[in-house]
Each structure stands twice: as structure tokens, then as C-alpha cells.
Symmetry: C2
Subunit: 227 residues, 2 copies
DNA sequence: CACATGCTTCGATTACGATCAAACTATGAA
DNA sequence: TTCATAGTTTGATCGTAATCGAAGCATGTG
């Protein structure tokens, strides 16, 4: 009855529909302002403000002030991981909030998870990196091998500069649609950013969906899933 | 605003204190009756009954009828994994439900997570299995190598008979106190059962804590963390 | 300065869900 | 059969928290 951390409090934070909408919106990895989040959640500003204060107090969100704006973002990728896990449970229990339309197909194919690539494209990338020996699982964490280091460098991402941060370089993240892992961590983030920079893909405005151009997808296959 | 599965519903299920207590109690892996869970949650039977119906409808619990008893258990280790993740967040945000007493130290050292060994002892076991090459990470899942197969057989656990079930043989599970992985899946379960059968350890009644005897701990070190 | 924009605080309203006593059903024991 | 135990259903009560209008700050812009 009184053992371990207070799970109910933070689950209750996530369990309010307006707040859940906000958190889901932040799974894109973008930082959003209070007004944007209010719109996203379908509530008025005072309500949103109150919710955001609670989420922040609960350690789920971080805040960055910029001028008269307040940008909120998920506090860590642990938070994102738990949200993704909850989505898995919710999807498994069959209660989809919307019937799966054409938009869902896009989400299933490729989407952004917090800040890295998820969906079919994400898991294929992860699988290839493991199979090619670029990544190695070690003691519960993921290690980028020398071969992997060289490979990502060839793709225009410098791993050593990423390794400095607080966030681990490689981390696996459970994909709720594919039910298998994809690559997270600062490397996951950097790879996705690079994909966007190369113009292979862009985010669908306001959604988590990632739209690959025809050429972008070809290049992705050629340069990231081979060799 | 309306994208993806309904995360709020199931988070709300977990977010009610009485229900959270029940779920936490079930993290021991034991199936418990409605009355036991009522006591555990600190509510009367009618209240518990209502909560349990909701948890079951939400797909978080499974039910096994036995005579006039109803035994409830967590529906899957995905559920356990999410709960463990929430504990991590709650522990991180510092809101411990109880100040860490001597009991918490026991929990930190060894406890049962759903049905397998967690805490320091659990993560050490996992680390050793990885380092010795008994386990290998592959495409997001864990594989028991031939060497590993032989090793666990020597410990009195037959891996091939475990592999048949619906549950994967090996699976990693994030440990909320250690912040690293330990071994779950049917092998994790079998190893822990064997440890209990050998009399090395027993569960503290009603808690998740696992108490090793002095000899049990020595044997654990000698037979599972070496060779 | 005035004026707009972004967000917070206050206060009143409202709705939802947790709670439990009492009555009821079902299974088992004597 | 009668009694006991395990759990459900009903219905009434109560508390908490979500909601938003209106007023209040704070930070920008003309």
C-alpha cells in the first residue's frame, strides 16, 4: 500500500484528456507555446495555463522563456518513452481514438517520436544498423561501434560532438505501431535532423507524420539501408 | 488533437490512487483476489470491485476464476514495463511516497518485478549474462546464445521448454532504481523461480522485496555471476 | 506614452467519479 | 437444507478538479 514511488500522481497528470493532448502534441519534439498547446488541447488559455503549471511541477515538461513567449517541451526522453509505452497499451486494448484513416497510414510509415525517426522507416533503419554491426547492445545500453562511427560520419553526422551531452548517444525506443525498437538518443535525433536538412523528408505541419519525397525515400534506402 | 491511440483513458486508469495501489501490488507477479486487492488499496470491497472491472475493461488486468475466487493479474509484461517506467519518472521527480527507510534499501537491493528479479541483483545478473556472451541483443530483442543455453541448463532451467509460450524467452526490462536493464521474459521468470526453489531467497510477504539468505547470496555470486 | 499580445490569477460554476451501506447473486461447506 | 464466504449491483452522498470569464501582470511594438 505504501511502497515505491508515487505512480498515481504522475499517471493522473497524463490521464486528463486536455493534458494528454498537450503531451501528445509535444511528442513531435517541437517546443510549443502555451497558446498553441491550448489550441491543441481544445481548451481556453486559463485552463491550459493551469494544466501546464501542473505538468511542469510534475517534472514532465521543461520550460524555456523567450521574450513574452513560453516554450514548453517534454522534459526528457524517459517521458517520451513512457508516453510511447502508454500508446502501445492503448493501441493494444483496441481503443483507437480515431478510426485508422489515410493519415494513420502515413503515421505508421514514418513519424517523428519526440525528435527521432519512428514508424516503419525508423525500425528498418534500426534493424539495419544492428545487422550491419554499426550498433551493439551492451549492458542495457546501445554502443556505436567503430564501423558505425565511420558510417554516420560518411552520412554527415559527427558522433563525437554528440557524445558530450547529457543525453546518451544511442538509446533504443519502443515503437508503438511496429512493436519493436527504433533508434533514439542524440544520434537518433541527429540522423533525423540530417535527413530533414538533406531535404529527403519534412514533417507534416502539426502532426507527428513525416512525409518522405519520392527521391528522399530512394536516397534513404540507398544510403542508409545498404552498405 | 485527435491522433494516435487514446492515451488519456489508460493513464487515467492508472492515475487513481486506489487503482495504482492495486497495480503496484500486482507487480509482484502474484495473482491476487478482489478482497486482497481491496485491502491492499485501502478501500472497501464494492469500491475495489468497481475499480477492478474498469482495469479489466481497459485491458490492464486479466482474470482467472477459481471456485468462488477471482484472481487478478497484470495482463502482460508490457503493462509491467509501463508501470516500471512510470515509477522511474515518479522517482526522478523526487516525490517518493515514503521516505526511504530500511525497507527501501531492501527493495533497492533485490525485488521482484512482475515475476523476475530486479534491483541490484537483477541488473548485475543481466550485466554478467551480456558480458559473458550468454545473451545477445538482436533487432530490438534479446537472444539466448548457445553458450547461454548451456549455462542456464547447468543451473537447472530448461530453455527449450520455455520458448514455446506466447511470452518471449528473453526480454529486457528497465529497472527503476538502477536505471538500467534487467532480464525479463519467460527465462527471467524461470531463473527467479529456480532461485526460490533452491532456497536462496524468498519474497517478503506482501512486498516486492526479495530477501536473500547469506548462503543464497554467496551461491548466487558463485554460480550465476561467475563462469 | 498608449496599445497589443501572451500568459497568469481569481472566483464561481459545474460535472464527474470515488466512496460505501445495503441488498442481491453465486459458489462452496456443513 | 442452511449457513458462510466472495463478489456484484444499486443508489445516495460527497469532494475534487476541470472549466472559463474577467481582471491583472508582464513584455513587447508603434
Amino acid at each position: 500500500m505504501k511502497e515505491g514511488p508515487d505512480i498515481a500522481h504522475i499517471a493522473a497528470l497524463i490521464g486528463e484528456p486536455a493534458r494528454a493532448n498537450m503531451l501528445t502534441a509535444l511528442m513531435t519534439g517541437q517546443a510549443l507555446t502555451a497558446s498553441e498547446l491550448a489550441a491543441e488541447a481544445g481548451v481556453m488559455l486559463p485552463t491550459a495555463s493551469s494544466h501546464l503549471a501542473k505538468l511542469q511541477a510534475g517534472g514532465l515538461l521543461t520550460l524555456r522563456k523567450q521574450g513574452r513567449h513560453k516554450y514548453f517541451a517534454l522534459a526528457s526522453d524517459e517521458v517520451a518513452k513512457v508516453l510511447e509505452g502508454l500508446m502501445g497499451l492503448a493501441a493494444g486494448s483496441g481503443h483507437l481514438r480515431t478510426r485508422r484513416g489515410p493519415k494513420d497510414a502515413a503515421l505508421k510509415k514514418a513519424r517523428v517520436c519526440y525528435n527521432h525517426l519512428a514508424g516503419e522507416m525508423g525500425t528498418r533503419l534500426y534493424r539495419h544498423f544492428m545487422a550491419a554491426g554499426y550498433l551493439q547492445a551492451e549492458t542495457g545500453t546501445l554502443r556505436l561501434t567503430d564501423a558505425g562511427r565511420q558510417f554516420v560520419r560518411g552520412f554527415g553526422v559527427e558522433p563525437d560532438s554528440l557524445a558530450r551531452g547529457r543525453v546518451p548517444l544511442c538509446r533504443e525506443c519502443l515503437d508503438w505501431s511496429e512493436r519493436t525498437s527504433h533508434l533514439a538518443g542524440s544520434l537518433g535525433r541527429a540522423l533525423y535532423t540530417r535527413i530533414e536538412d538533406l531535404g529527403w523528408a519534412h514533417r507534416d505541419a502539426g502532426t507527428r507524420a513525416v512525409i518522405f519525397s519520392a527521391r528522399g525515400e530512394q536516397e534513404f534506402e540507398r544510403r542508409l539501408l545498404r552498405g
